[in-house]
């Protein structure tokens, strides 16, 4: 007997599954791809429609209004940096990718996270899945995504969504488990409906931790979107890949710093929102 015949090879079974999905569900995946493309295209067009300085001013004004002057300043610096190093278009493409991926991740992760906090058994069932999702090297996700959606932005986004779900899901579960029991009891004793308890007690109490989850989701998604430059996702990731393949130090460094700028921007924006949630200003009647 040849020991090689005992070799465990999950790919042997997974690859045909992906092939089968591809042949039988092609119209579905195709529709999905079109939908994602159009949403992505829309956001990208919107971000690139105005001249860079107008977008930067609008973003700064928004940051000042929603968070703080400090965050507005960081917004100004990071976006201006992206523009000045000549990666405005690529930066906006990356932002669009991250935005779409994060929105979809949250839409999937939030309800599942709430479910996991309510049903212990569901939580213990998905925990190993989440563990695997978080420990498998991120570019491994790209393979099945590319097999189904071929090269481009769509497989990048799919892989990013999958990568962004676990942190959001875990922190949603944590956030809901941390809602003080006495507040839940208050809701019940007051005669609040389950919907009121969710909207008026649980979500507001869970908000700080939910925002931490969102922050993690965004930053991990950004990392994945950059990595997806390998499969033709465009944006800053493509610039980094180009720098790598051509051994152009300057190009790679500029693109890398632009990514850092975008990361800082997204991080501070969500943190700013988080801090605002902690000390409410201007909401007093």
């Amino acid at each position: 007997m040849n020991p090689e015949s005992f070799q465990l090879s999950p790919g042997k079974y997974l690859a045909p599954t992906v092939d089968w999905l591809n042949t039988n569900f092609h119209p579905f995946f195709d529709g999905l791809a079109r939908l994602i493309e159009s949403v992505l295209g829309g956001i990208e067009t919107a971000l690139l429609f105005l001249p860079p300085y107008a977008v930067i001013l609008a973003a700064v004004a928004l940051a000042a209004a929603v968070t703080s002057v400090r965050v507005a300043l960081i917004t100004l610096i990071s976006l201006s940096f992206c523009w000045l190093v000549g990666f405005w278009t690529a930066s906006m493409q990356t932002l669009a990718l991250v935005t779409v991926a994060v929105i979809i991740s949250v839409f999937i992760a939030f309800p599942l996270g709430v479910l996991a906090s309510r049903h212990r058994r569901f939580e213990s069932a998905i925990r190993p899945v989440l563990d695997i999702m978080q420990t498998v090297p991120p570019w491994v996700y790209l393979i099945p995504a590319v097999m189904i959606f071929s090269l481009g932005r769509v497989p990048a986004i799919i892989a990013t969504i999958v990568y962004g779900i676990p942190p959001m899901l875990r922190l949603t579960t944590l956030a809901f488990n941390q809602v003080p029991k006495d507040l839940l009891e208050l809701g019940q004793a007051t005669g609040a409906s389950p919907k009121s308890i969710l909207l008026k007690i649980e979500i507001p109490s869970a908000m700080p931790t939910l925002l931490v989850g969102l922050n993690q989701c965004i930053l991990l998604s950004l990392a994945m979107v950059v990595l997806a430059g390998l499969v033709g996702a465009g944006g800053l990731g493509a610039e980094v890949t180009r720098g790598l393949t051509r051994m152009e130090m300057g190009l790679g460094l500029r693109a890398g710093l632009a990514i850092v700028a975008i990361a800082i921007l997204l991080d501070r924006l969500t943190r700013g929102a988080l801090q605002r949630g902690r000390n409410p200003v201007g909401t007093a009647a």
């Binding site: 003080p180 006495d182 507040l183 004793a189 007051t190 007093a284 009647a285």
Partner: protein, 362 residues
């Protein structure tokens, strides 16, 4: 509803209610009703914990009913059975004549929203809402329009003395003020019954006494009924019209403060009562000596020259009267006739907390 002014109307009626916690609680409940198992037998045989065992109580309209017990005595479980935050294992609980076990989810919510308010030890204020929004919470979940509920909540906050704090957030308030907001929130819904789950336990003694007095006054003036949980007998005596003493899930004794202090049902209650000052609880009628006996012992005494007190005068008043005169006795007068005499011996007996009947030997 023409029974509203009936002072003896029973608002909450608990009849031999049991609560057993654990995976096999229903089997345990059955075994208890069939074989009368004790708490430790239930624990051994079914691995279930008895929270409340065979509790019966009635809360009447306008009454403040205190449930006193140490931690683990089942008092917090009992109060949660009254608004069905916890489902009883057996027994029947009626609120305003309705068996609450028969209510569906919507009816139960409605009853909690309209008839039974609750105030928590932890206060349970929503930190992201202003004081006003917190006080209006109960009305908000009932779907009352913003202007109206804010107006009602503002009025409730005025009642508890927080009219100027409506726009503040809970973390800007002291512990005592936060608990006032909790009370205002319960009052805003205008329920007939307020469940108070150790509301003042976490406060410092001075604030606690102040809130106790305010709570009693407010409840009485608004004509509300309250079930008040506490681990502090002095608090129960200060606030309660009647007091139930709980131990290991069982209600050991129910009665007025005076009944409990002067006639404790068992050694457990007696131990509790031992440290309680009796001077405001024991009254003239329970420490006085019959007139004939006084005459026999003090043949030369002139009864008419004694200062007079009513049968309801407490020991503190009697001491005051005794100090005012140079005689060592006070005459107890009811309807113009002297019905007995309180001597200094009687006073000392009262302070020690032993009623005249049990020690009156010489």
């Amino acid at each position: 509803m023409n029974t509203i002014n009936d002072a003896n109307e029973v608002l909450v009626d608990c009849q031999s209610v049991w609560k057993i916690f654990g995976a096999r609680s229903s089997a345990a409940a059955k075994a208890v009703s069939e074989r009368g198992l004790s708490k430790s037998q239930v624990l051994n045989e079914f691995n279930c914990v008895v929270g409340v065992s065979g509790a019966s109580l009635q809360v009447r309209r306008g009454e403040i009913f205190c449930i006193m017990g140490l931690s683990g005595s089942g008092k917090s479980t009992l109060i949660r059975l009254l608004n069905r935050l916890i489902e009883p294992s057996s027994g029947k609980i009626t609120v305003k004549g309705k068996d609450i076990a028969s209510l569906n989810a919507g009816e139960l919510r409605d009853m909690r929203a309209r008839n039974i308010g609750m105030v928590f030890q932890s206060v349970a204020l929503l930190p992201h809402r202003t004081v006003l929004e917190n006080a209006a919470f109960g009305l908000e979940v009932r779907g009352i329009a913003k202007d109206e509920r804010n107006e009602i909540a503002r009025a409730a906050l005025e009642k508890v003395g927080l009219g100027d704090w409506t726009a503040r957030y809970p973390d800007e308030l002291s512990g005592g003020m936060q608990q006032r907001v909790g009370l205002a929130r319960a009052l805003a819904a205008d329920p007939e019954i307020i469940l108070m789950d150790e509301p003042f336990s976490a406060l410092d003694p001075l604030i606690r006494r102040q809130l106790q007095d305010e709570f009693r006054q407010l409840t009485k003036s608004l004509g509300k009924s309250a079930v008040f949980i506490t681990h502090d007998l002095e608090e129960a005596i200060r606030i309660g019209d009647r007091i139930a003493i709980m131990k290991d899930g069982v209600i050991v004794q129910v009665g007025t403060a005076e009944q409990i202090v002067t006639k404790p049902a068992d050694g457990y209650v007696a131990d509790f009562v031992a440290g309680i000052s009796k001077i405001h609880l024991v009254r003239a009628h329970s420490v006085m000596q019959p007139v004939a006996e006084y005459r026999r012992l003090h043949a030369d005494a002139k009864l008419d020259s004694l200062l007079h007190a009513s049968p309801e005068a407490d020991i503190a008043e009697l001491i005051d009267l005794t100090m005012q005169s140079d005689r060592d006795a006070v005459a107890v007068v009811d309807n113009g006739a002297i019905i007995g005499v309180v001597t200094t011996r009687g006073l000392l007996r009262g302070v020690a907390g032993t009623s005249a009947a049990t020690v009156d030997v010489g």
